[in-house]
Symmetry: D2
Subunit: 337 residues, 4 copies
């Protein structure tokens, strides 16, 4: 049993707590939060857990092997660094850090310490997402032209972290997972309406080497909750709606072939192929459960996590480029390596 | 009875034909198309209509007072100019022309000829759209922060006209109707996957003087048909789904108020207001019918159409700016007047 | 070209008129209605059609070969009889007649006159419905246990014809098409809330020889329009939603196998199979168009219509049994042959 | 803190366990199940809970004040009787018992013991359901004509308890809550396809004194999960969809007024009123949480539960009548009191 401490019992922490508690291979040992009310709550729900108010006390407890960090993003780097220095395995919620330099430091530190560093890109543990990747890898979608993600709803505004950094990491992680490469060029626009300087709505465009593209629309100022990704391939297209009640993925047997030449006053020649829609049966396991289980498995077997530090760094890097483009009002940023 | 000729009986023409035929105040007199098969079809469905293969013969027929032009966009200018010169009232399908210079010429010509020039921005005759405008004008939405439109589906590819010019005019027209001003700045990105140089997918951003924004996502390469506009106001938000089977507009009694200051490790202060959703009863009249009726009414009463030449010019101008930004890979274009 | 007259231009008539007019093999020649306003309307829309106010004048016109009857159900028998006697081919809207005796008379008359008698059970010409039948015939659904239909909405109340006779004929026709046999037993309940003695809401149950069942819920007093049929088979299940915007049929790869024996305090043994959902591509042709084309084809080729008089009689007979059970407050009626 | 034991940790037990554990006023003290694997699981999730394999040991533990029974329905009576005899307050899952005699015995026993007896009719603690009741009580719906419930999905087959007794109790409880009276007449039909003698699909009709009706369609052999209730009133209509993701209740401002007299070949006179649809904001609290809290509150304050023994008895009585009608193939059963 891997003894795990949770640092941060705010909005997302309770979900992690529940999963750590229920996970067969883990022992949810301690929970740290600055807020006494939150600690009292965690204590009531998990009487066996040690409630801790100072992170230092988590680091110092040598019985604790692993730490899950679910605090505000601005604290991720300091806490993860401290935890790694104390010899803990670390799972950090997304985004890994707020800049790539910090992410690189954590990667090096984890390496030198021989500890697991993992980032909580939950969608990479989502069976629906993995199904799309599988379809793509098997060539079922043909050439994938582009994919776009919509992640909007009302609420969860962040005081100091715009929608790009607080919402879009999921989508960037999904797009990088699909396309398996870094973009050549990134552009982004954003707008703030509520809190000066903190974008409520952002649009991000990624251009990949082979001409494929990824698009993200992220917002916390929208009437309706939408969690949707559309992947457009030459042979098939997929819509992934995370809120659908009956089948989250729809595979459209649809495509277009261009051919022939044009006629005046007429249609040019293309053959539109439009067949069945398939809603595949998908394993219903909770992505966060899979993520936590993977963390524990990596610790026990000394494996590199699928969403390791490098993976976290890639997402942070793309976010940085997008931020830079946003500051230039949407002008594209060429990626330097 | 206003005697009307329809020029172009291709994809959209049949809808105009049906409406012109059924409209009480109009007499659908003649139909012109280069394709004999199309002419035979129109003749079979409307035996009383004169089938004409040369536009010139429409211009020459002095019994014809008005002409509706539903041909490929590249022919709009020439045909509309010829019709106006022949003294006809003219309704041109969107986009009015392919550049603003041409639009300006048509406006002047219509003026000097004393004829009605109208553009087929159907959504400005759509009861759902007009309801949103009414809500906005009455202050029901509070300050409108932004609106975004999604108009995607598979098919209706154009050989020589990208998705910006062939699909987005509707959305640009809707956004200008709502915000009642021209944007200060336009940016756009697009991508072609099928036909080199002809964008299949475009994203357009408009920035208005008061900080409000409009966004458009238009594509003919998408698995699912979507026709949706979301308007986000400080007091209420509206989602308009043109394909909804039960109520096309949803009014969300939702908003966010910002206040107070921040705490470490905590939430900053905002008050989220989330009340009922209202689906107002909307008049079910066909927008295209309303549009055709408005055209006839303007002819009979010598009125300026709501979507007159100036209105058409404004949309064309925004499309030009968007095109320019798209050529600069998304860099914003400052609007000059 | 078969010259066709339409008798009745009320609620449904315009749909028939449009189809008869557009059908290549037919010539929509005359239209009869008692209401002068309706006749004026039809005249305006179809200038080539002769407007007739007395049915007798239709019978007398020897150039008219075929008649489509879309009048109130209580007049079906008289009008169809007169038309057949005058030597016309006849398509009658559903229900064929209001009692089985009348239906039998029409069948005999059509036979002795050597004319086509067809009933407008549109769903038997609906590609979605035919797809379900095809799946069932190919054994794709396994043993079909039962099917149920919901056909409810607000409006189209009939003054003298309850929901059973005015709405349920479609569903009875669909169930008989699927199960290809008459039921052994019928039970039905109904209730009136608006107009004494005329049921607004009815529930009908059919029991077939092999234990399969059919259920119908029909109502014109319901807030939401629903047109749905569910077919439950041992191997697969199908939901047919006629109002679905993206694929009207969903094929569920679902089933249950029973086996083993029970345990105290535990689950008994059954194996639930739950796989993909498939939304097959279905031909988008208009069912009413197919129906009209079939009528014309049967006339020209001397064929028996798929929904001939016998088919109409079967539906009327089931409706009679259901009516009888409804009068007995739901007690089952054994079918006598 | 009321010390509560849970008897039965099968399918539904875990939901009760979670709520009892998280409820501020309760202390989830002990859990009893015959299955050692289930006990091990509960022990792992709730380390502070005493795991007990014999119900007798629960009764004997005098520190336990209250018992929640979530075992198979056939054991409800014996277990509840034993618990009450041991002086415990008792919450029994629905149905309270399998016959009305047993329910009456439990009621008397609870009375003589001075203990709370409550039945788990969860929907009577569901904010959406209570909203509908409130609308009805305030006259917002006008005269309520009828209500119908659909509760179908695939799975949760019971070896010895048909769909009537295992699924329909929820709907019967909801209908009795709305109409606040016992029906005069009950009819029901059902069919088994899988397990001889155990109905998989049932239809129940209730007739109330004022002519109002209630209908239930319950099945565990259906491809799609549906949890829906429609309430049709003279002024307004309500659809409650428990699976809707955005607002579970839709209030339709719809109604029909009958008037005038009929015309031959025409429409009789009725005025259809069809206005806005409203989706009211509903409190998101978990019904089962509310139910558990109510149980604890009744214990602490010596109050009669809203779903007390009498309430449970009423539902069991209606189920008995329905069962009787089902044995008579749907013939109505007059209610005797």
């Amino acid at each position: 049993m891997v003894k795990v401490a949770l640092v941060g019992y705010g909005y997302w922490g309770p979900n992690l707590a529940r999963n750590l508690h229920e996970l067969p291979g883990a022992c949810f040992t301690a929970c740290c939060d600055l807020d006494a009310t939150r600690l009292a709550l965690v204590k009531r729900l998990y009487p066996q857990v040690v409630a801790i108010s100072r992170p230092q006390d988590v680091w110092n407890d040598i019985s604790i092997e692993a730490v899950v960090i679910a605090t505000p993003a601005r604290t991720h780097f300091d806490l993860a660094r401290a935890a790694l220095r104390a010899g803990k395995h670390v799972l950090v919620e997304k985004p890994l850090t707020l800049n790539s330099r910090h992410a690189e430091q954590l990667i090096k530190l984890a390496q030198s310490q021989g500890r697991v560093l993992m980032v909580g890109h939950t969608f990479e543990y989502n069976p629906a997402m993995l199904k799309i990747k599988e379809l793509m890898d098997q060539g079922e979608l043909g050439e994938v032209y582009y994919a776009y993600c919509t992640r909007v709803n009302l609420g969860r505004l962040q005081p100091d972290l715009n929608a790009l950094w607080s919402i879009a990491p999921h989508d960037i992680s999904m797009l990088l997972l699909l396309f398996q490469q870094m973009p050549l060029e990134v552009s982004a626009t954003g707008a703030w309406y509520l809190n000066s300087g903190v974008e409520d709505v952002v649009f991000v465009n990624l251009l990949f080497a082979d001409g494929a593209r990824g698009h993200v629309h992220a917002s916390w100022l929208d009437p309706s909750k939408v969690r949707r990704m559309t992947v457009v391939g030459s042979k098939r297209m997929v819509v992934y709606d995370d809120l659908a009640t009956e089948g989250k993925i729809r595979i459209y047997d649809k495509g277009v072939l261009i051919g022939g030449n044009h006629r005046v006053y007429g249609e040019f020649q293309y053959r539109l192929h439009s067949g069945d829609i398939n809603i595949p049966k998908i394993d219903m396991s909770e992505p966060l459960r899979n993520e936590c289980a993977h963390f524990v498995e990596c610790i026990r077997e000394g494996k590199q996590p699928r969403t390791d530090g490098e993976n976290g760094l890639r997402v942070v890097t793309v976010l940085e480029w997008a931020e830079r483009s946003m500051r230039k009002r949407g002008a594209p940023v060429q990626v330097t390596t």
